[in-house]
Structure formats: C-alpha cells, structure tokens
Amino acid sequence: MKILVGYKRVVDYNVRVQVKPDGSGVATEGVKLSANPFDDIALEEALRLREQGVAEEVVIVGIGPADLTAHLRNGLAMGANRAIHVTTDAPLQPLTAARTFLKLIEKEEPGLVILGKQAIDDDANQTGQMLAALWGRPQATFASKLSVGDGKATVTREVDAGLETIEAELPAVVTTDLRLNEPRFIKLPDIMKAKSKPIDAIDFDSLGVTSGDHLTTTHYAPPPKRSKGVMVNDAAELIDALKQKGLL
C-alpha cells in the first residue's frame, strides 16, 4: 500500500505573527518557516505504518512556491520515500488544495491519505474533510490512534465528548490530532541520504484543477488586546479582588 501525506510549510508555531499596520496582511517576511506540526505527525504515522509492514511507500505532498524544496527534503530526511511538489506561487484555499490532492490521488492510487487536522496558518481545518467528500471515501478526522489491517482503518478520534472510535474502509482520509504520536528527530546521515531521493515537480496549472478559492480576504486586524491587569500578593488578596469584581 502507498500512503500519501500532506506536508505543508507554515510559519513556525513559535513565531508570534504580526498584522501589518495597514491591515493588508500579516508580516511573514524573514520569519522562521517549518512543517505544519500536524503534518509532521501525519508523516510520522505513515512511516510507522511502513515500518509495521502495512505500507510499502510513503509519499509526501507539498503545494507551494519553488523554494519549498528544502522543506520537502526535511520530510524525505525524516523517512518519506519520495516527494511530490505541486508548484504554485499563490497560497491555495482548502477546496482548491483538496481538488489538487484528488488529482494526485487519481494518479497515485494510495490506500491511505494522511493530512493534518489543520494548518496552523489558516487554521481552516477543512482540506481532509473536503478531499474525502470529493473522493467519495471515508474520513476519520482528529485521529489520536490509528490501526490499519483487513482493508480498513480503525481510528480513535478526539472529540468534544471524549474519544470516538470508527472504522473506515480503505482507501480513506485520516487527519491527525496532536496525540497520535511524537514525530522522530531528523538525523544528520538521513539528511545526506535525502539528497538523492526524488522530488517530482508538477506545475499546478498543468493539473487542470478548477479553483475553489471562493473567499476574498478584505481586511486583516490584530486581535483585541487584553491589557495587563493587577498583581496580588496572596490568596486572601486574590479572593478580595474576585469579590470586588462580583465573581465570588
């Protein structure tokens, strides 16, 4: 079985992104970029399934500008067999990303597609669900446990009420939650090895994807600021302060 993994590059989770003063966007020039944390988890899970003998090949997919190559090399160094780089300069909205994945699926015919539950830049949390709908296949979102066998995936999902387990016939789309696994660290020799692994570059325009970028962002604003409050010295003062606010 082949596993396709979404491997998006985003602004590193440690960066406190700032809105440009004129409200035209966020300042991303020169900030640290990393793999979307949920996608590192997706890749780790795919590698474990390969190590278990469930899968033979793990293919990472990045949709983005030309300089995505270094990012994809990281995924190859982590252990992916090869990478597909769909080149496009404009960021795609989830529906377009899902349609792009579908095109790749038609060619690659994976048994399983693992994406992150959300990209931490747009925080959309949509692409996996949309892809599963377009593909007409099961979705198992927010996975914290995954086992694959007998032509199906058994997935434990983190939901508001607790933990839900579902069964999905393969092929299927799984999206990862934080506690699915802890991604491995990349070792130096693996970086060397990754240099010889293939990255297929495909021009986005050549895929014939109908754009689903229907939403227009008209303005960016910083979040309302919470100002620094007061410090109290002990429990008694804390209780007084809460009483004054009518909270106790």
Partner: protein, 313 residues
C-alpha cells in the same frame, strides 16, 4: 432575504448548547432560520430546538443511519436539505468541524471556519494564526455560504414564547456504508460543562501528576466550576483530551478563568481570549500568562490552593 439552515448538534437526546450559539449568529445575518435535526428519533431534540428564539421551523430527518452521526452519512443528507438556503451553519465543535467542510465540498463551495462576527450577509470575521490575526472574509453572493460558528464568540439565544413548528423532511440521498461507528468513550462527570460553564479552573504541567490534579478538581467543585487543562497536562496523561483548552482544543469564554501552573503559550491563550476575567497563579513571575491575566499571583499552586479553599470556607 437570507434563508439559513442551522445544523443541530445533539447527543443522547439532548441538544448541545452550541446550537443555540449558532442560531445567535444566524439571527445577525437575518432572515428565516430553520434548524435541521438528523437523528434516529428526532422528537426530543426537535422539541428543544423548536423553543430557541429566532427559529422559524425545525426540520427532522429520521433514519437508522443517523443513530450515531458520521460526517460521511450526514453530509449527503445536509447537502440535499440545503437546497434553497442561502446559508448553512454548524457549530465549531469537533462535530461541526468534521461535518461542515464535507457538506461544503459536496456543494462545491468554500467553507468559512470559526465565524466570530457577522459584518453582512456574506462578510464575516474569523481568526487565523492561532488568533494572532483576525481577518474579514467575503463569500460570493451567488453561492451557498457554508460556515462554522465559533461558539465562544456568541452567547446562546434564549427560549422564545412560542415553539416553532416541526416538519419531517424526506431527503433522497444515497448514503455510503464505508464508515462505521464503533464506540464513544465519554468521561462522564457531574461537573459543569467546560464549554458553557461560567467558571473554569485549569491546570497545566505545573500540577505535576494525575494524582495532583485532584487538588484542581477539588477547588473546581468548591466553586462549582468546569475543569480545563493545557496541552502539556493532557499529553502527560494528567487528564483526558476533552479537557484541553486552546487553539487545537476547546475555545471557551467563561466569566472567570483561573489558570494554575500554566505558562501561557499563545496556543493556550487563544482558547481563553474571550474569558471575562483571567486569573493566573504561577510560581514564575516571568511567565507570559501574566501579560494577559487580569489578576496575577506569583506563588506555588500547592500552597495557594489550600489557602483559597480555607478562605472560601
């Protein structure tokens, strides 16, 4: 005029309060608001939905496949039911987030995630980058707007004087059988629900262990509060996943939020931004949580909590 379909969320015959928050957002859009209940037996839930202020009609679809709602089977029904509606809203709960993008894709439209405010019938604000930026997005006027409503931004509507009429809807949708529900493990507790409790007490890595977390629960019970946690506390196994507050956990807006042994990472703070009063207790005076706390106390939580309990009597 807008015609809005709100997807009811429910479990064990109880309507989730998130649905009343969705209706609040729909009311700001304006127009007719219908609530759709997919269930095996919709009666009880439909009754609760019919009472919500602003609701014009309740539509029910009763099918055996709806006994445990799965996105794969619910989405085709909703996509069919959505015909003639200008908007389809669901809550930004795990269930809504699972379901609504699938609906949007079936309709061939984009989805707006986590609506914080309604600027006009097709323009909304929503957070990106863990809430570090709030964007205004415009959806095309000639497409159905499919969206999730960020529940923490919307107070629930109350009950109306008269109940809205309910109608059974027959949707002619073929449902796949490739996805099956196995089980739901719930941590049943009598404590107030984290997402709607007026008071929430949270613990982080500083609490140190599962056993130590008892002290957080005890204080919460004294204050009749819900209990939350940071990701670090959940990852370490102190408490179950459904207690995680933050960017990738629950977004909450209690009147009072008290954080014990939580450093204040941006991913955590994004989950509590809408809280009325934030109290932070941390032994590190430089912890970032003090930059946003309304009341801060530098101290050891194991010393402070017993003192609080003693003073509360």
């Amino acid at each position: 005029m807008s015609k809005i379909l709100v997807i009811a969320e429910h479990l064990d015959g109880a309507l989730n309060p998130a649905t009343a928050r969705c209706v609040a957002a729909a009311k700001v859009v304006g127009g007719d608001i219908d609530v759709l209940v997919l269930a095996e037996q919709a009666g009880e839930v439909a009754n609760q939905a019919a009472k919500l202020d602003g609701v014009s009609r309740v539509l029910t679809v009763e099918r055996a496949e709806n006994a445990h709602l799965l996105a794969a089977t619910a989405a085709p029904q909703i996509a069919k039911a959505a015909e003639g509606y200008s908007h389809v809203f669901g809550a930004s709960t795990t269930s809504g987030k699972d379901l609504m993008p699938r609906v949007a894709a079936l309709l061939g439209v984009a989805q707006v995630s986590d609506i914080m405010s309604v600027e006009s019938s097709h323009s909304f604000t929503r957070p990106i980058y863990a809430g570090n930026a709030i964007i205004t997005v415009e959806a095309p006027a000639d497409q159905t707007v499919v969206a999730t409503v960020r529940t923490a931004s919307w107070p629930a509507v109350g009950n109306a004087d008269n109940a809205a009429p309910a109608e059974a809807l027959s949707v002619d949708a073929e449902l796949p059988s490739h996805t099956r529900f196995v089980e739901l493990k719930q941590d049943k507790s009598d404590r107030p629900d984290l997402q709607s409790a007026p008071r929430v007490i949270s613990g982080g890595r500083g609490v140190g262990s599962k056993e130590n977390f008892e002290i957080i629960f005890k204080l919460a019970d004294k204050l009749n509060a819900g209990v939350g946690a940071s990701r670090a506390a959940v990852d370490a196994g102190y408490v179950p996943n459904d207690m995680q507050v933050g960017q990738t956990g629950k977004i909450i807006a209690p009147e009072l939020y008290m954080a014990f042994g939580i450093s204040g990472a941006i991913q955590h703070l994004t989950g509590i931004k809408d809280a009325g009063t934030i109290v932070a207790i941390n032994k590190d005076a430089d912890a970032p949580i003090f930059e946003i706390a309304d009341i801060g106390l530098v101290g050891d939580l194991f010393k402070v909590i017993p003192e609080l309990e003693a003073a509360l009597g």
